[in-house]
Symmetry: C2
Subunit: 620 residues, 2 copies
């Protein structure tokens, strides 16, 4: 059961890398590129930057206080990908472990002197996740030994007391280690770390304790707040603890926090984060497109959380948000060549980026960078893509549920299925039964897919009367089920409506007032302008049905009518006349090309906007 | 000539504290409160926080690396206010000066090891400004001696080489010291500091060199960028150098940068700063009301720069921006009791602040704080209010120009004038001639004041025929001039139209699309909601003429019709229907009270918004 998350109870069980093979297609291509290119790219940069040398004792120590965690995330990626470089890197890491299990290249000698910013438990969390991945894909070895020894050290050192880490992740790591080993102390340690938070356990800081979710106990919080990755990693651990301890109240608390966060603090792409200063959520409805932070890691953390809530509850809305975030944050975070990355993912970029040569010292930038001083995102992308097959499908009591529609082969119980589709470009999905078998097959119909249809097409066979053609039925968003038994060759056909659609914001989102975006299937689109293309600074679109253009590789681009304003402006940008009065009519009429948001920034320095000002806030 | 800025050339000369007395009224009351309350308040807090103890050698040293500068800003305030606490504080500061003139309580022993963040030259800048203030109001004493010694040390240490300071201010301080002493080395040192910047002179940092205006030479820059206070302090010094060296090209460069900044990077209040992470300007048209930074110090720096450009060019637009910023940033930055302060001045606050007890460790907060870990703003308010009379009027070749309409007595050349007005609440201004005299009198008619009128009302006198009633003439924005000669008792009456007016944003300001604000005279208004008042989260206003309500103390509040939306919301804040379709009509109709923005936050924790969503982007 090669899964990053394997709860002992819950409505659904996940199917792991041993049960799901993702085939060439949108995600299959990215998974292959990740294994073949991105993992080696990350390893090379971590060597170059000295972060791996730190484990060999090279001095001066290099990198930020949490750089050890980057090697661990990469080890986790290698474990899921069964990458040949794993044993050597694990051996290097092992050199730095002390006799009692302590392992940290920054704080050795001044252990546990800075819980707010030291990240020691955070680093262990990633080490343990790597160990769990290795146990589930390979079995015990040097890496799993190091991870278990570190986990035991943590339990001895922290079981009593009131301490915890400024950056969560240890919680979910310990629960998963409990799940794979059965050792109760890991679960109990995780439970205590969760319970301590918000009492408070950490010092006040200028950002406030909300920054690291230490302002109120988890059970009392109303919404996710503070540093987004911290908030979501914590919530993952809380769900894990709640599920394993049967704490329904705790699970409900996280569900309610998720609900409010999704309704009021989430960008259209599924991205989370509205403030740069502390990489945090904004207040409710504070969702600026230009200063959207939407850290790639936050998107990944949101996918991790949604996956856990889906398993615990079986509610398709969690898979909906995961899908939105996979296509519009995770896929955006890495370049088409697998060698450069976005750290932040704004929805509006006014000024083309200046290309950088080498490491990006900031998190920002309108071009993907090969590496960052803080390179959580590349390694996080690597481990997520390497484990992505484990997110695709699940087992329910009666059969198999397909959460994410992508070419794949799924085997579970009495079922062997092959999913074929050009999704997300095409809305046609075929699920072919590979062997005679039993069991119910469920396909998730995304929330945006009104008017979807499903057909069961029995295989032609001399033993059965010829089918009278497929029986097509409409299916609502959620899971659409088809019952067995099955004969090899049977097929399920799902048709999702892929008409591009205009999407409007809630009027309480002040930063988006008077604008609209275009979506098609699970993809958010954006206008992008490189080099000599018309600038987007003063564009006004008409919300007419977009025209589709498919390219040779299947990628669908769109076109909408728009007006470009004149370039000039007055000495003071506020005045007695409504802006619309001077209005877009004065500008030049253009056909505005829209590209999938996840593809933006692959053509060089560009300006970009997801939300397009539209005339009168109305459809044309 | 008691002036903070006294150029040796330029179109206008300033009139100093010796020529202008500000009488009770909007500014006179604040100047008095500042002298009587705020200066002592600052002194008390600087003692309590240990920043003054640092000069006495108390250990451990306390405060941030630039805390010395707070004592210097306060000394400058004391100098302008002729405050009795000055000699004692100056004596304390003097204790820390080393034999060669070096003076810094943080870096003594590791001098000049961090030009990027050390702030040593920045601290000298404020010390020298305090010394100049003392020289011009009192003459030589211990403070002026310490300041001159420090300035000489700076000239010796830095005249050769390529070094400069991460935070400008030394430039304008040295020019002013040159102006008061005539010693050319100070001007030359300032000129070199300006010329070095952007070559570059400082290290690259994650914020980029633009943060401290070291990305390009001043002469080549197109716009103000980076950290706002740094950008504006630098620009002040550049204007001073340009004026004293007759460098027209350099002056023109700053004028062009100012123009673009005002047209594209300035909030309605005159506030500048759109990003919290680095306290910086955003890109053109990046002007979010909720995350507007608008540091109080940045407003002050903008007033200082506008004043310099006004003196150099005589162009009333600089006084217009200064006035806007005085009434809507400077006046906002300090509470009505003079004992608490805003550091940032956003135009939209969604969540009422939690009252703090004592020092605010952050810059943010929807309530004014008595003190901050970084307390530049309180001391900057103190020195600015103490010197404010020097901004009120100027001398042109032919007479006197009144830049700012506030009760005052102005004496210059052959003219003695008394200004009486209830401005900014009333638009009626009377300038009475106190003694027989000669010369032209000019009054600034603000840019917003269409349909203003001016009348000359000669005094009744037995020597002259009875006047045939006042001759009223319309006057355009800019300076309206009335020629002498004058007899004691003559009067000039200016009537400014004070109808409240709706103001709309340029459509390129994405964050303000579909909203409008209300102004009256020089004041920006806002909706404020405390405690049980209706919340402002989903308000839609109708842009009808606001109704005025004057209170007993003359303060004018306004009222506009609005609708409040229902409280509920769906699970996902984006959908196929334009937000306006569900629309404000469903909500409750209210009369929305608007208060002057500078008065917000004086009634306790509140939500607030300057920009009101309006229906259809149109006047009703």
């Amino acid at each position: 059961m090669a899964n990053p998350v394997l709860p002992s109870s819950g409505v659904l069980s996940p199917l792991g890398l041993d049960a799901v093979r993702v085939l060439p297609g949108f995600w299959g291509d990215r998974i292959a590129l990740n294994r073949e290119v991105t993992i080696a790219h990350c390893l090379e940069w971590e060597e170059r930057e000295g972060w791996i040398g730190n484990f060999r004792g090279e001095r001066p120590r290099r990198g930020r206080e949490f750089s050890d965690s980057e090697a661990y995330k990469l080890l986790e990626a290698m474990a899921w990908a069964d990458h040949p470089a794993l044993p050597a890197l694990a051996g290097t890491v092992a050199q730095a472990q002390e006799g009692d299990g302590y392992l940290n290249t920054r704080w050795s000698g001044s252990r546990y002197t800075d819980f707010e910013w030291g990240h020691e438990l955070y680093c262990y969390g990633h080490l343990i996740q790597a160990g769990v991945a290795r146990l589930r894909t390979h079995g015990e070895d040097r890496l799993t030994e190091v991870a278990a020894k570190a986990a035991d050290h943590v339990c001895r050192r922290f079981m009593e007391g009131s301490e915890t880490c400024g950056h969560p992740v240890i919680e979910m790591a310990l629960v998963e280690l409990y799940r794979v080993t059965g050792a109760e102390r890991y679960l109990e340690m995780a439970r205590r770390f969760v319970a301590r938070r918000g009492l408070p356990a950490l010092a006040d800081i200028p950002f406030g304790r909300g920054y690291y979710q230490d302002d109120v106990p988890v059970r009392q919080a109303q919404v996710f707040r503070g540093h987004v990755v911290r908030a979501l990693y914590l919530a993952c651990g809380v769900v894990d603890v709640a599920v394993e301890t049967g704490d329904e109240e705790l699970l409900k608390a996280v569900e309610a926090q998720w609900e409010r966060t999704v309704a009021r603090r989430t960008h259209l792409t599924g991205g989370m984060g509205s403030r740069h200063a502390d990489e945090s959520y904004g207040e409710d409805y504070e969702l600026p497109p230009d200063r959207a932070y939407n850290e790639t890691c936050a998107g990944i953390a949101s996918i991790m959380l949604a996956h856990r809530l889906l398993l615990a509850t079986g509610d398709a809305r969690y898979a909906d948000l995961a899908e939105r975030t996979m296509y519009n944050v995770l896929a955006t975070g890495v370049a088409l060549d697998g060698r450069s990355f976005f750290y932040v993912n704004p929805l509006h970029v006014r000024v083309p980026a200046t290309p950088l040569d080498g490491v990006n010292h900031a998190a920002e930038g309108g071009l993907r960078s090969p590496w960052f001083d803080v390179s959580c995102c590349p390694n996080n992308v690597a481990r997520t893509l390497a484990s992505l097959p484990a997110y695709v499908a699940g087992a329910s009591s009666g059969g198999v549920l397909i959460h994410h529609l992508t070419p794949s082969e799924i085997r579970h119980g009495g079922l062997a299925l092959r999913v074929e589709t050009g999704y997300p470009w095409s809305g046609s999905v075929s699920v072919r039964v590979l062997e005679d078998g039993e069991g119910r097959v469920g396909l998730r119909v995304p929330a945006w897919a009104a008017d979807a249809t499903l057909a069961r097409v029995p295989v032609s066979s001399p033993d059965a009367p010829l089918p009278e053609g497929p029986v097509i039925r409409p299916v609502d968003p959620g899971y659409a089920h088809v019952e067995g038994p099955w004969r090899a060759g049977d097929e399920i056909r799902l048709e999702l409506p892929m008409r591009p659609r205009w999407t409007f914001p809630d009027r309480r989102i002040d930063a988006l007032r008077g604008s609209a975006a275009v979506e098609r299937g699970p993809l958010v689109y954006c206008a992008e302008s490189v080099a000599d293309e018309p600038p987007l600074g003063d564009v006004t679109a008409r919300a007419e049905p977009p025209v589709e253009h498919a390219s040779d590789d299947g990628v669908v681009e769109l076109e909408v009518p728009a007006a470009l304003g004149p370039a000039g402006n007055g000495p003071w940008p506020y005045g007695p006349e409504p802006a619309d009065a001077a209005g877009p009519a004065e500008g030049a009429d253009v056909r505005l090309r829209l590209v999938p948001y996840h593809r933006w920034g692959n053509r060089g320095p560009a300006t970009m906007r997801v939300w397009l000002p539209i005339q009168e806030g109305r459809r044309a």
